[in-house]
């Protein structure tokens, strides 16, 4: 583990300009991922996970204002020259996107799509070397090499996701970002894909950012996790510890949310949590979680909670861990 993080976010804010006014989707996120590490990000739909992903390769829409620093191996992505940015995309960091089942061009063969980034980033690549690479990539993700001649619609969801993983590995990036890589798949395939991803990241000592709304998945497969709520990290620490002994009431709700097999909706709704996640354009005052919090105190709507130490290597943003706030 070198001392420069492969990926580091410093005080990242993202605000979307919309007709209804500004939407602060990410409000000050600090997070780092070192080589050889798998870091999870959990949180309900809409808490800003994909928005964070979009900042890493600067793929956010023009309507987004991004501040802070996004460092890839110490280099700030947000201030990079355009040419360098294109080289960094896929060359340094690659993404397995959330909508992975539609992330392949439907009218191009799998092989054509796998070859594209290879030629783009390796000026010395030949037709032969690229074809060999495609074969190796497909085998690494457990697909027969003949699938290079297939079109996306001829593959199952799980196979398409394997192709996306192969695609993400095409230029041997140091950082691999997976935005809900298993959400669209059925439960059995989910586990296989996840294991494949983690296995590859560990084997190659990549820095991996694994995003999911399912904390139980992250708790068992990551080194560290960050739990997000309303555009902020509200708890962070060693994965197992955070999942088994959550400090923040929101994390507690997430960790007790076991999905009911066959009921897709239950995967999105933490058990025992009333109400919906807040809309970032119109956040509750104080701790944004207070309207739903089972442990809320009278001070909660007025305090500005910050991430504070909450055990070895852990932080949480809640008055209950803040000794300086009178809790009675």
């Amino acid at each position: 583990m070198s001392d420069v993080a492969a990926l580091e976010l410093r005080d990242v804010h993202v605000t979307y300009r919309t007709r209804e006014g500004p939407v602060p989707a990410v409000r000050g996120v600090d997070l780092s991922v070192f080589a050889g590490e798998v870091v999870g990000v959990a949180g309900e739909s809409g808490c800003g996970k994909s928005t964070i992903v979009s900042t890493i390769l600067r793929l956010f829409p023009a309507s987004a204002t991004v501040t802070g620093e996004v460092l890839l191996d110490g280099e700030n992505v947000l201030t990079m020259r355009w040419g360098r940015m294109r080289a960094v995309r896929w060359g340094v960091a690659s993404v397995v996107f959330q909508g992975a089942l539609h992330s392949l061009n439907p009218i191009q063969r799998i092989g054509t799509q796998l070859v594209e980034p290879i030629f783009l980033h390796d000026k010395l690549a030949t037709d032969n070397s690229a074809a060999t690479k495609v074969r190796t990539l497909l085998e690494q993700v457990g697909l027969p090499a003949r699938h290079a001649d297939a079109y996306p619609h001829q593959l199952s969801g799980g196979q398409k996701q394997r192709v996306m993983i192969a695609l993400a590995l095409a230029c041997d990036p140091q950082v691999l970002i997976c935005d809900e890589p298993t959400t669209a798949l059925d439960v059995m395939v989910q586990a296989q894909i996840l294991e494949l991803l983690i296995g590859i990241a560990r084997e190659r000592s990549m820095a991996m950012l694994l995003i999911s709304h399912d904390l139980s998945v992250l708790g068992t497969s990551c080194d560290r996790v960050a739990v997000m709520y309303a555009g902020r990290i509200i708890e962070h620490g060693p994965a197992r510890a955070v999942f088994d002994w959550p400090e923040h009431p929101y994390t507690r709700a997430l960790s007790s949310a076991f999905p009911t097999i066959g009921d897709a909706a239950s995967r999105y709704a933490p058990s025992g949590l009333p109400g919906d996640p807040p809309f970032p354009g119109d956040l509750p005052s104080g701790c944004p979680f207070h309207p739903r919090c089972p442990s809320a105190l009278p001070v909660c709507p007025t305090v500005d909670v910050k991430l504070l130490p909450a055990g070895p290597g852990r932080t949480a943003a809640c008055v209950l861990v803040d000794q300086s706030v009178p809790t009675r």
């Binding site: 390769l57 793929l59 294109r86 080289a87 960094v88 995309r89 896929w90 060359g91 690659s94 993404v95 996107f97 909508g99 992975a100 539609h102 992330s103 392949l104 061009n105 439907p106 009218i107 191009q108 594209e116 980034p117 783009l120 980033h121 993700v141 457990g142 697909l143 027969p144 003949r146 699938h147 001649d149 297939a150 079109y151 619609h153 001829q154 593959l155 199952s156 969801g157 799980g158 196979q159 394997r162 695609l167 059925d186 439960v187 059995m188 395939v189 989910q190 586990a191 296989q192 996840l194 294991e195 494949l196 296995g199 139980s216 998945v217 068992t220 497969s221």
Partner: protein, 348 residues
């Protein structure tokens, strides 16, 4: 996590594994074969339909021939016999020559297919010029406007193409004649109107070709304006649909330049509806340029149709009707095949 122990090989993927190869080129061959058979079926139906259609039309076809001096009384009697024979007998006769290859025009007294041939090439010239202009400019505008949705180019081009799209062809044709053929005010009457070539010139000589070009410019502009507008509007809409596609995000994330993302990923997918439309329109323009050809007295198949109807020349109408339906059927088939070549989802 117990499920995590699941095997890693893709073969344990519970979803069905469809063959990756099997039926790609084969699929295309099968698709084309199927499409040709279906097209042949349509053609047979049209031929039968034609028989009854022309027997339901009002008027006395034989009477029309009397006006033609070159027809002999014996031939006239034969035509009358044929037309008064019982329907099944007529049908058998019809099946012997459904394309009216032996048909004589009641208007000109010539074999109808000679007439059709003499008028086919001007229509093909007009069609070719129109299609090239409309496709190249229309598709270019559509791509640029859709890709930069909301830009000034988009706003201006959409307004202009909508205007063209709503303009009746005959009105635009008359306006063009007034401005550039008759000449008015500043506008020079530089283009001839009427005909396709000045008389007495060999169409294959240099002079002939420039004369044809001169005669074709205005009708081609009138016709192209409408189709250009249609292509650019459809192409723009398809491009706008493309903008939100996940695979474009993938392409950008790979580090491709914007114009490469557009050219390699957005345009091929977005072009499918426009390609279908272009081929269908080609099929229709062959018979459908009636308005423009009539306004410009451009001696193509459209004008011939107008004349055949005015002269109540049933045999000629029958031949033209066949040409038009066949061109629609054939270009329909071509459109389907081209789409199937581009889009693998169609052929499986």
């Amino acid at each position: 996590m117990a499920v995590a122990a699941a095997v890693r090989a893709a073969d344990s993927d519970p979803e069905p594994q469809r063959p990756a190869r099997g039926g790609q080129q084969g699929g295309l061959g099968r698709f084309i074969g199927y499409r040709l058979v279906a097209g042949l079926g349509t053609l047979v139906f049209v031929l039968l339909f034609n028989f009854f259609l022309f027997r339901m039309l009002p008027g006395d076809p034989a009477a029309r021939y009397r006006a033609v001096k070159s027809i002999s009384p014996a031939d006239l009697a034969k035509i009358r016999d044929e037309l008064t024979a019982p329907l099944p007998q007529q049908f058998v006769a019809y099946l012997k020559d459904p394309l009216a290859l032996d048909g004589i025009s009641s208007w000109k007294g010539q074999p109808v297919w000679d007439l059709v041939q003499g008028r086919a090439w001007p229509t093909l010239v007009l069609l070719g010029a129109t299609t090239i202009v409309a496709v190249v400019i229309g598709v270019w505008i559509g791509i640029k406007a859709g890709w930069n949705r909301g830009s000034r180019f988009d706003k201006v081009s959409t307004a202009v193409t909508l205007l063209f799209y709503a303009t009746p062809e005959f009105w635009l044709g008359l306006l063009l004649i007034l401005l550039f053929s008759t000449g008015i005010g500043f506008f020079p009457g530089i283009f001839p109107s009427g005909g396709v070539i000045d008389s007495g010139i060999d169409p294959l000589s240099f002079e002939g070709i420039t004369s044809i070009a001169d005669h074709t410019v205005l009708p081609a502009v009138a016709l192209a304006a409408v189709y250009l507008a249609e292509y650019s509007l459809i192409m723009r809409a398809s491009m706008v649909d493309e903008l939100g596609q996940d695979y474009l995000m993938t392409a950008r994330a790979k580090g491709m330049m914007d114009h490469m993302v557009r050219r390699r990923h957005a345009v091929p997918n977005a072009s499918l509806p426009t390609i279908t439309l272009i081929f269908l329109n080609i099929g229709f323009i062959i018979g459908g340029a009636i308005t423009v050809e009539t306004v410009f007295s451009y001696p193509g198949l459209g004008l011939l149709t107008f004349e055949a109807v005015s002269e109540q020349d049933y045999v000629l109408m029958q031949a033209l009707f066949l040409v038009f339906t066949m061109s629609v059927i054939v270009f329909n088939i071509i459109a389907d095949i081209v789409i199937a070549v581009i889009d693998p989802r169609i052929r499986t």
